[in-house]
Symmetry: C2
């Protein structure tokens, strides 16, 4: 302690007895400003007693201010010597930069062809409110970390739904509640070994599956598809641990793997000790036929990890999806670190929604509505664009894929779409292959929107055809 | 087409005209069962016309059933020949395994000392309901993918709160809404290069930080701490890109990095081009002094990535946290794939909660309540256990850490705790170092609970002391 130092000066602190700010905090602020602007290293501060008597403050008030300054490291106390400014000190608190808020002004399009949007009015707001209010009143504990795997009663409802609607063989214990596709894929990626276990995905295939496994450093192979999905003969030479596919509604081409191929695929998985990640993202939306039963349901050898979501039929903004693991992987899952991924109250509300039978009814409604939209868009495409259009995929989901069937100026078409406030999406952008198509996402449109849209679309389509 | 084949037999389908199940689905089911149990490969099915006339069904009904069977790959059609069973077919659908539901029966403890729990009644249920109902009625669109970064108005509220309460310098554009600590750390891990950028964390340090970066294959170093947190002299030799620390309330030791060290740390970060990940997980809960301003707020060189959460004061089950990036990393963030991590309606409700001033009020209430609990537990520890206990960390957060200060039979103590329905936690388990302490998490207890708990705890404590 440098004991040659004396009190530097007598400071006049301007404390306001009537302020809402407590006196010790006022004093702390004054002292701090002084230390920063006036004091030097090792300078001694006035004693607590001195400040207290000069300003008619209680000793406790002054002690409190000093204590905070010590805690923050501005000053230090030495027994019998007093308080000193510490030997390394900031010259000043940095000034906040004057950066203007730069909120992205996102253009609102009149016709946004997003491939996975739902009509705004479709979400059952009233019902959801009622169930939310009921569930939150039912002794819910928001003060604790709930089950990282997801609430048991919600998992049970999901398991029952998957059993009856998708022929998935599962129990609640096999289900993990996630907050979206990427979240579930992250979970799977963490359960395997990126250095030893190669990952394969169909090509074209959903780019998020690629991105997630790529981020974990997996070796990634791509396997081409044809009209029956993954080409079986390529499997013979394939050395992989995980194969990601969308067997019931291939993303983006719409192909379905026929039952015979499914059997062969499962035999291969068993024989080669490969896990198939079955992404069943929107197979509940099938308009030509009933939904194709899941691959998982045909599997007797626990080689399928099943992935699904509520985003395509209920709401993409709700953030609930799920992964169903084979029984023997549940222990591996439980050994991993995991954390709750969906708010407890959202889980409870969704549970009630399913348990009371609303989900099944809602799904029927969504299917009917989207079938109407799908059929109308298909009809208008065929009657308006006739043989100038090639329909690439149809009959399911929330998108019809098309390509021009005639010489076509795609740049001109894109420009005209932009000019007419139509937001376009292309399959290639999100599936990383060479397969491309214009994505006509109709989910967010009303029937009226589709008619209006097709009137404009027809015009710009014909304007873009090279004569 | 093997044209020597003829109709195998005339099947009698038992269709129920009065069933709720549509006729084409009844027919589909009957046909499918037949194919599986009776038919052989390449067997020909009865013609559509034949089935329609025999059973007095419309041709459309039969076509619909056949179409589904084709889609699912059971049969295939050949022009002018009819429908045939495909050449590879499952012998049977696998039977669902009869595995009993094995829901984990989790023991409910009378006294669960979880280090980060909040009292059940604390969450503002009524207010939350009111805000939820208001927000969901306000033209909210649950049908679209909202901003992956989080809603702008919520990010704006978080930024304002952090500016005023934690002296964090930030704007809404720098904030990313996440669903918990691990989620935010995942985001950071994906933005850097696991092959080139080493990751360092304090030792002892929060194990989830380790786990997340480990899963991405980062090289991980550990850096020891002392009573002032990270030991500065070790930084000179350190070659790292990311340094994870908890500067305001070290996890788990409770150390605080003094201001002088913070300056040196920031200078080092600038000079060595290292990003500091500042985990400010519970620094709003400081009972001895005002919360220490954040490290981020002192940084003039954009070297701090700030991480915070609503879990420790509002609710761990709500699943909302945030990351604040330096401006120059926002572009890197936006180039990454990212997805919405918190339900739109939860984001909107939390936004309203903050905007209407409830969060600040609630925080004061939580601080007061937890200070009372903390002070009571501390007092009872000192009066009951006297010099047999060493208090390792105190004064902040939701936990007091203690160790015996006398010869102690820890195994006996653990057994007795279990017998008395006390769930114990130890610091070492979640911080991966050698530093250990018994964690007395008081957040979930009422004041009465603390008194009751300490009566029992006192008994088992003294019983475990080796005389």
């Amino acid at each position: 302690v440098p004991n040659y130092l004396k009190n530097k000066r007598t400071v006049l602190y301007t404390l306001d007895q009537n302020s809402k700010i407590p006196l010790h905090i006022q004093l702390y602020n004054e002292l701090k400003n002084d230390i920063i602007s006036e004091y030097k290293i090792n300078d001694k501060l006035p004693s607590i007693r001195k400040i207290a008597s000069t300003y008619n403050l209680s000793k406790t008030t002054v002690e409190s201010a000093y204590s905070q300054l010590v805690a923050e490291g501005y000053i230090d106390s030495f027994p019998k010597s007093g308080y000193f400014v510490v030997d390394t000190l900031i010259s000043n608190f940095p000034q906040q930069k004057n950066i203007n808020q730069t909120q992205d002004i996102k253009k609102e399009y009149r016709f946004d062809l997003h491939p996975a949007r739902l009509e705004k009015g479709l979400f059952p707001i009233k019902l959801w409110k009622r169930l939310f209010n009921k569930e939150i009143d039912e002794n819910i504990d928001m003060g604790r970390y709930s089950d990282p795997q997801g609430e048991y009663d919600l998992r049970d409802e999901i398991a029952k739904y998957l059993q009856s609607s998708r022929a998935v063989k599962c129990e609640a214990d096999q289900v993990v509640v996630c907050n979206g596709f990427a979240d579930g894929m992250n979970l799977i990626a963490r359960m395997f070994n990126s250095k030893k276990d190669p990952f394969t995905l169909e090509d074209p295939g959903y780019y998020i599956a690629y991105k997630v496994f790529d981020a974990y450093g997996y070796d990634i192979q791509k396997l081409p598809i044809d009209k029956n999905g993954i080409i079986l003969k390529n499997l013979e030479k394939l050395d992989t641990k995980l194969l990601y596919i969308t067997p019931s509604h291939q993303y983006p081409t719409g192909a379905t793997i026929p039952i015979a191929n499914r059997q062969k695929l499962l035999s291969w998985a068993k024989q080669s000790d490969t896990y198939i990640i079955e992404d069943d993202y929107d197979s509940e939306l099938n308009y030509s036929n009933r939904p194709i039963p899941s691959l998982q349901g045909l599997d007797n050898d626990e080689k399928v990890i099943y992935v699904g979501t509520f985003a395509k039929s209920l709401s993409p903004a709700l953030r609930v999806s799920y992964v169903v693991f084979p029984w023997h992987l549940i222990d591996t899952y439980k050994k991993q670190y995991d954390d709750i991924k969906v708010s407890l109250i959202t889980q409870k509300t969704l549970k009630a929604f399913m348990k009371e039978g609303h989900w099944e009814k809602f799904l029927r409604k969504v299917r009917t509505i989207n079938k109407k939209k799908h059929d109308l868009l298909k009809e208008l495409l065929l009657t308006k664009l006739k043989d100038t259009v090639k329909i690439e995929s149809i009959g399911a989901g929330l998108t019809i894929h098309i390509n021009p069937n005639v010489p076509f100026d795609m740049e001109k078409f894109k420009q005209k779409a932009e000019q007419n406030s139509i937001k376009l999406y292309f399959a290639k952008t999100t599936s990383g292959g060479t397969w491309d198509a214009i994505r006509l996402g109709f989910g967010g449109f009303s029937l009226e929107d589709i008619v209006l849209f097709m009137d404009i679309f027809e015009v710009i389509w014909y304007e873009s055809i090279i004569k």
